[in-house]
């Protein structure tokens, strides 16, 4: 890293000089070097582009920052014939890169894009980032300070200290102090007091990067015993903090995986758990929900509701998957009650038919479902990194679970459904239409699977095979939790998720999955009715 950063600091210095130059009104006198610099971009070769960036910065052209910005965004074009370079600005019009004037007589058709690779991108980012240390924009300064910490390049120390002297914002100031500490620690030189100070600052930061730097400070060839001791104790402290955060992070990952399992299984907890139907087409209900999300998003793309398409998709997926579920129940399953083997085979067939139907209608390739802005990215809570999408899925799962509990506990339909489950003949004698309740309950389970599909469309492929990857897990959760018990399903999903995520770092994803399966097989031997056994129709059958 340090070797690569070297030219970038030169760029920073040159850019600073350039700004000063503009201030002094010297920019216009340097037209010729700009053209030379820009000619490098027209060579269509990475080493030439690299030289061009240095030359451009050294030329002191007033358009340099705009050209570099355009280059990193892929908005810099050149004419292979005349070798002139153009910037496409935000409005989509072409500007001459040397003068910044509008190039009205040129069209984009004959132009070629100046190509980028990751080395060039890093170079531009470092150049622009260094300049941002003194930017008036607070977020840019913060990002630049963060970059300076990550790069911890000894040559940038002057710039960091200059920025530190001027900085007033406490958050940015703290970040700059850390950046300076990182530079000191990484360089392994300087007075003892400064090194000890740097180690203390890094210890307070306490993340993986800090651990690396502290180790480097301790391993410096001329480190005094005091520095070595401080580095060792700081490293131990950071390791401990990291281990604690890692455990919390694993717990969060487990919770997140558990909520996905719960979401996928909760519909099955009704159809299989409460009604006792082995529904192999359950996964396809999830898949139908995901495709409904896709269709809703496409339909609303150009309308005002476009941003809220996921919210619209939730009821839509419930209704579509629920309707399909009711149709399956009325047409097929109802004739097979009490014959679990036939039900299994018939629903397996239904699942294949639904998959191929979707493949024929939508095609075999994955359908893109865009994530809304609030579900993208991640944020930190202490040492925890939480991705927004996963967090919303946890929240959503809690909501679905609560809503389902309310339906079952506090509505007349829920009461009738429980009555039919507990004693079908008695319920029938009391005037409940058991056939209708069966159909509606199956529709409810399928509809909830459809809702799960809305959430899964955000984290998995919307393809005809979507459901297959969840059907085994769903049965596993329901059986483990205890057939017919929603709370059991909740506990089972979360504990399986957490167990999986704690095993994964040691055993790897494949072995972790196998270990969980083996555990469940053994557990079912011991307690065939799962964690929480219930009495009901499933027991009678």
């Amino acid at each position: 890293m340090p070797r690569k950063r070297m030219p970038s600091t030169r760029i920073v210095a040159a850019l600073l000089a350039l700004l000063a130059g503009i201030g002094a009104g010297l920019g216009a006198a340097r037209a010729a070097p700009v053209d030379d610099a820009l000619a490098h971009f027209a060579a269509d070769k990475f080493p030439e582009t690299d030289v061009g960036i240095d030359a451009l910065v050294a030329s002191g052209a007033p358009t340099a920052p705009a050209v570099l910005g355009a280059l990193s965004d892929g908005r810099l074009f050149f004419d292979p014939g005349s070798r002139k370079v153009y910037v496409v600005d935000a409005a989509g019009t072409l500007d001459d890169a040397a003068t910044g004037a509008k190039a009205a007589d040129v069209t984009q058709g004959g132009l070629k894009k100046v190509r980028l690779n990751n080395a060039i991108r890093s170079k531009i980012a470092a150049a622009v980032g260094g300049l941002d240390l003194v930017s008036p924009d607070r977020t840019k300064r913060l990002a630049a300070a963060d970059t300076a910490f990550a790069a911890h390049d000894a040559k940038a120390r002057g710039a960091v200290e200059a920025a530190l002297a001027k900085e007033e914002d406490p958050a940015i100031k703290a970040m700059l102090v850390q950046a300076r500490a990182a530079i000191v620690a990484a360089s392994g030189t300087g007075p003892e007091a400064e090194r000890l100070d740097a180690i203390a600052t890094l210890k307070a930061r306490g993340d993986g990067d800090a651990l690396n730097l502290v180790d480097q400070a301790g391993a410096a060839p001329d480190a005094s015993p005091a520095v070595k001791a401080a580095a060792a104790s700081a490293a131990a402290a950071i390791r401990f903090t990291l281990a604690v955060w890692q455990a919390l992070q694993n717990a969060w990952y487990g919770l997140s995986l558990g909520s996905v399992l719960l979401l996928a299984a909760i519909g099955l907890a009704i159809t299989f758990g409460v009604m006792g139907i082995i529904n192999m087409a359950h996964g396809e209900m999830v898949m139908i929900g995901a495709y409904t999300t896709y269709v809703v998003q496409q339909a609303l793309a150009s309308s005002a509701l476009g941003g809220a398409s996921l919210l619209v998709a939730v009821p839509a997926a419930f209704l579509v998957a629920g309707a399909v579920g009711i149709a399956i129940e009325r047409l097929i399953i109802r004739h097979l009650y009490g014959r679990p083997l036939e039900t299994l085979l018939a629903t397996w067939g239904v699942s294949l038919i639904l998959q191929q139907l979707v493949r024929t209608v939508f095609g075999a390739d994955n359908r893109p479902v865009a994530a809304p802005a609030f579900m993208a990215g991640s944020f930190h809570v202490g040492g925890l990194e939480i991705t927004a999408g996963r967090m919303w899925i946890v929240v959503f799962t809690v909501g679905v679970f609560a809503a389902l509990q309310i339906v079952l506990r506090a509505t007349p339909f829920g009461l009738r459904m429980r009555a039919v489950t507990q004693n079908r003949r008695m319920a029938s004698a009391m005037g409940i239409s058991t056939g209708r309740i069966d159909a509606l309950a199956f529709g409810l389970g399928s509809g909830i699977a459809g809702i799960a599909g809305v959430a899964l469309s955000q984290i998995d492929n919307v393809s005809p095979n979507l459901g297959q990857s969840y059907i085994i897990d769903s049965f596993m959760v329901v059986v483990f939790g205890g057939v017919g018990n929603l709370w059991g399903t909740l506990v089972a999903a979360l504990s399986l998720g957490v167990a999986d995520k704690f095993l994964e770092p040691f055993a790897g994803a494949v072995l972790a999955k196998i270990a969980i399966l083996v555990f469940i097989v053994l557990f079912i031997q011991k307690r065939p009715r799962g964690l929480f056994a219930l009495r009901g129709r499933a027991v009678e059958a």
Partner: protein, 437 residues
């Protein structure tokens, strides 16, 4: 479904042919059916692999239709026989047998996964027919009846690693080899691990990770990769993650803010087709290694893409590397048949060696004595438009190493199907045919 409609279409064709022969008098029509030569297309049109293989069936239909418009081969029209092995490996063998013994196809184009290829191998050997296999694979195989038009590891994986080690690629010093848990990633990673160690990479700088098929929860693995990459050395991920699991993998990379400038990912199984179902903005700068990109700017490629769009009646259909492999394989077969003057398998297999046909990137692909073809290697960067922009390419064509020189079991083996050697696993150390000692 496709299979059913195919059968129905064939039945309709048969029906109309019967009707025609009844009115025109049997003789004039009867010899037309006799004249067509059948070509087998063995790609899954249903099941998990349909996502990738359906396109290859379409491209074969296009190539055959075009050849027929040019007058067929040796004056005879070609007829595609499409079967659906439904992503079911044993069914591949059954369907291959059906194509060869029942339909008497002259050659087959098909398979995607290595396991499906291994499943049909005994059938092609027993019934002595030709299979053109169009997908990049793990190597370590050289069969007389198979022509491998996809890349061997040294035509894709090794150059990609070389690129990342170079100054241009970022001087990568630390490596994550991440793959789906099956034969292709395992073998490729074994070769790469041996190669990296040969290049002086220390074992603690290599992290190997396998995940099950269809993995969708990448949180732990991506955060492990992030941690592995924060050790102060430039880190890259070499991904042999299978098609479908890539979308959630890249999504998680984006969510955890891992940019291509921090930890680049070079993928061997992600093509234009996979990217079509993805929001590519967070992926910009991540890399892929192939022997063909849709974005390659040559007249041959432009003509091919135009034909493809016209054939599929969809101006947005993407093209990809295995499609080029079929293009090359089909043209090589046509040329070899013309050279041999017959459709019989044995003379055509012999004639295929040395045949050279244009590829789509402006060069030539030559069928080598090891039944693999010469290929250029491209490293492409994923762009915001879902296309790959070439950032590096090998200076010339690369000849496939069917047996990896980096693996203990295969380093002494070569394949050469020319007589007098005629052997797919000749051991140069022992001086005899038959594989490792």
């Amino acid at each position: 479904m496709d299979r059913f409609s195919m059968n129905r279409r064939q039945a309709l064709l048969g029906g109309s042919a019967l009707a025609a022969s009844a009115t025109l008098g049997g003789v004039s029509r009867a010899f037309a059916a006799d004249e067509t030569v059948k070509v087998g297309v063995l790609h899954s049109l249903s099941g998990t692999m349909a996502i990738s293989e359906t396109t290859l069936k379409d491209v074969m239909l296009m190539l055959i239709e075009e050849q027929n418009r040019r007058g067929g081969v040796l004056g005879r029209k070609l007829e595609a026989v499409v079967v659906d092995p439904a992503s079911n490996w044993p069914l591949f063998a059954e369907k291959a047998r059906e194509l060869i013994s029942k339909d008497n196809v002259a050659a087959c184009f098909g398979c995607w996964t290595s396991v499906s290829r291994k499943s049909v191998l005994p059938v092609f050997k027993e019934l002595d027919n030709i299979l053109f296999y169009p997908v990049q694979y793990e190597g370590e195989e050289c069969e007389r009846n198979v022509f491998y038009t996809g890349a061997a590891p040294n035509q894709q994986a090794i150059p990609a690693v070389d690129y990342l080690m170079s100054a241009d690629g970022g001087n990568v010093k630390r490596w994550v080899l991440a793959g789906t848990d099956y034969v292709y990633p395992r073998t490729t990673n074994k070769i790469l691990e041996a190669y990296l160690k040969l290049k002086g990479v220390k074992p603690e700088d290599i992290m190997i990770n396998y995940t099950p098929f269809g993995q969708s929860d990448w949180q732990t693995i991506v955060s492990d990769i992030k941690k592995f990459g924060s050790a102060g050395k430039k880190t890259a991920v070499v991904s042999t993650i299978n098609g479908d699991a890539n979308v959630p993998f890249y999504k998680e990379l984006g969510n955890q803010n891992i940019k291509a400038t921090d930890i680049p990912v070079v993928a061997f199984s992600v093509g234009e087709e996979e990217l079509a179902g993805m929001d590519t903005k967070p992926l910009v700068g991540h890399l892929t290694a192939w022997n063909y990109f849709e974005s390659i700017d040559t007249p041959e490629n432009k003509a091919f893409i135009d034909k493809w769009h016209a054939f599929t009646k969809n101006p947005k259909r993407t093209t990809n590397d295995p499609m080029e492999a079929h293009y090359i394989g089909f043209n090589a077969w046509v040329k070899a048949v013309e050279k041999a003057g017959t459709f019989k398998a044995d003379p055509v297999i012999d004639a295929l060696i040395g045949v050279s046909v244009p590829n789509l990137s402006g060069g030539y692909a030559t069928v080598m004595p090891n039944h693999h073809i010469t290929k250029p290697v491209y490293i492409g960067e994923i762009g915001a438009d879902g296309q790959m922009n070439t950032v590096w390419q090998t200076p010339g064509l690369v000849v496939a190493q069917e047996w990896s020189p980096y693996l203990e079991g295969s380093k002494d083996l070569i394949g050469d199907w020319r007589s007098p050697m005629s052997c797919g696993n000749y051991n140069v150390k022992l001086g005899k045919c038959g594989g490792a000692a």
